[in-house]
């Protein structure tokens, strides 16, 4: 019959699809090949924990061997989901009423909302021997006093990332966005994420980056609207490649991301403006709904191994709050990426990013909508 061929094709496609689905379309999400050539962690004993652990993290944010070595050590089967932004994973957790994962990686300011809604489990220090590897400053970050419900993974600050060969003088102030020198006009970008978009304005005016005062936010919004005239645009993801291509000469950047630019072009440098900046933290949170908290704790302990902390810093080019790990870092790496060498004491001089609550978030998001849409 004349439609035989087409029907045949459809039938074949369906069969193929169903076979693929049956063979494990939804299975096998754990990390790639088991790298058994590298010895796993020294020190701690092999604990046979078994069971399953579901983690959600940013993509390519963990060293390749971190999960396989953990699985080998403990017999736990790890499933890794990815999220692109904090807001995405928070939305997912919210819609599932706090379940769906055992352990999630979120930035510090999201710990409190999780705690307040009863979804973050209390950390049991007795199960995490390596907590002692953390700098003392890592427990003073403010968003979760004493790290009772979260454990820091990486931390850093925000500042100005720029091309030394494209600027006439080293930038020193957040004001550069508001009143730029001629060569920078139209060659700058600012971060577009709500919490960072208003930071330059707030810091330039000497206010807190966690402010919820309507008056202050109003002024910050006006400042930023005026600065917008001088910008190329708001950019969260491609700002460092704009620096490399020369499309931009100076951008607001997280320190780790600036390093990705530095990796491509030695002329790029990072500086914290004189008014100060923030300190942000990415943390690990165990969800209260988890059925395998033991494995989750063991995983955190594994992450805090000095050799693993070092691998994280080398992969992501962020600082980790893990003292022995940072001390082990190759001197050459720190030389190449100076902001890796920022001491915790210096970091803590900046203001930690904290949750600002529902009303605060509303205030800020309206301000941002005004800035971007205006």
């Amino acid at each position: 019959m004349r439609r035989q061929g087409f029907h045949g094709f459809v039938a074949a496609a369906t069969t193929a699809a169903l076979m693929l689905a049956a063979c494990g379309g939804s299975g096998g999400g754990s990390e790639g090949s088991e790298d058994s050539t590298q010895t796993t962690s020294g020190g701690s004993e092999d604990q046979e924990l078994g069971g399953k652990l579901v983690i959600s993290n940013w993509d390519a944010y963990m060293p390749k061997n971190l999960i396989p070595s953990f699985e080998k050590k403990t017999g736990v089967d790890v499933e890794v989901a990815v999220h692109t932004t904090n807001e995405d994973i928070m939305g997912k957790i919210q819609a599932q009423s706090g379940s769906g994962f055992d352990l999630v990686f979120v930035s510090g300011q999201f710990v409190e909302p999780l705690v307040q809604q009863g979804w973050a489990a209390e950390v049991d220090p007795s199960q995490i021997a390596n907590l002692e590897n953390l700098y003392p400053e890592a427990s003073e970050l403010g968003y979760d006093p004493g790290n009772s419900h979260s454990v820091p993974y990486t931390w850093g600050t925000t500042g100005l990332c720029y091309r030394t060969d494209l600027v006439n003088a080293e930038p020193t102030s957040w004001d550069v966005f508001h009143d730029p020198p001629a060569e920078l006009d139209g060659k700058m970008t600012m971060l577009g994420t709500d919490r960072w978009l208003l930071q330059p304005a707030l810091l330039a005016e000497g206010a807190s980056i966690n402010s919820t005062d309507p008056q202050i936010i109003e002024e910050a919004a006006s400042w930023t609207v005026e600065a917008k005239q001088n910008l190329l645009g708001f950019d969260d993801t491609t700002f460092y490649s704009k620096l490399v291509s020369g499309e931009a000469s100076l951008v607001q950047a997280w320190d780790g991301w600036c390093n990705y630019g530095i990796a491509e072009d030695k002329n790029i440098e990072f500086v914290i403006p004189q008014e100060g900046s923030d300190v942000w933290t990415d943390t690990m949170v165990i969800l209260e709904s988890s059925q395998n908290k033991a494995a989750a704790h063991a995983f955190i302990d594994h992450v805090l191994e000095p050799k693993n902390g070092k691998a994280v810093a080398e992969l992501v080019l962020y600082k980790v709050p893990n003292q022995p790990a940072m001390e082990k870092l190759d001197g050459k790496l720190v030389e190449q990426y100076p902001n890796l060498g920022i001491e915790p004491a210096e970091l803590l001089q900046q203001e930690p990013v904290k949750e600002i609550g529902g009303d605060g978030l509303q205030l800020w998001s309206d301000a941002v909508a005004q800035v971007k849409g205006g």
Partner: protein
Amino acid sequence: MKVPHGYLRVHMGLLLLFLYAPIAVLLVLSFNASRLPSVWGGFSLIWYRSLANNELILQAVQNTLVVAVVVTLLSTVLGTLLAVGLQRTVRSRTLDAVLFLPAVIPDIVLAIGLLSFFNLLRFSLGLHTIILAHTVFDMIFVAAIVRTRLGYFDRRIEEASLDLYAGPVETFLRVTLPAIFPGVIAGALVAFTLSVDEFVIAFFNSGPSSITFPIRVYSLIRFGITPEINAVAAIVLVFSLLVVFAALRLARPQGEDRVGHGPVA
């Protein structure tokens, strides 16, 4: 008198140029030795090689294809039947409009709504929930496109077929369906396309390890679009081209007109 074919041909050519300009860019960039799209580092095949070992991306592509094929089949069937049925029922304009809501609602709304709904029912998440979610709006797209075709379908030939003692199902398959076939094909194409590239709904309704290609691509956004991703896109493109033309070869009738052509006089 003839339609001004010359102009139309030029127009089509320019449109294809417009459609394929970014594709050409991404194809070229997939051979870029440098990681950044703004700098050309020389011709290289390293990304294709690393892709062959990148199980994460390959798994994601497989997931996407599985989802898209199943969604297309489901939504084409449901949507076509829906369109044919709706055509015959007397219904209000409001109901008509309301039925088409899944196609017009912002995706984040559908995403969160469905996830909350699945959560309420304690439904576990996985590829199947992505399939269920995509079908919701794809079915309506199919129905809408098939309906533009149905509007002109002369039901008298159906009557004739029934009068000649063909059963209802046979009439549907041999009379109705062929007449609306271009609409069904167009609808299926749209359904497949929409599912293959859908991120928001897929992300919110996916299980931890049911990662589709769009989710994978979006999650790597920190590194920009690596040439590896471009390599995947290039391969997907070439592969689709091959599959499509092979299918067309298979389906080509022996000189018969299988695309309906208006009412049979």
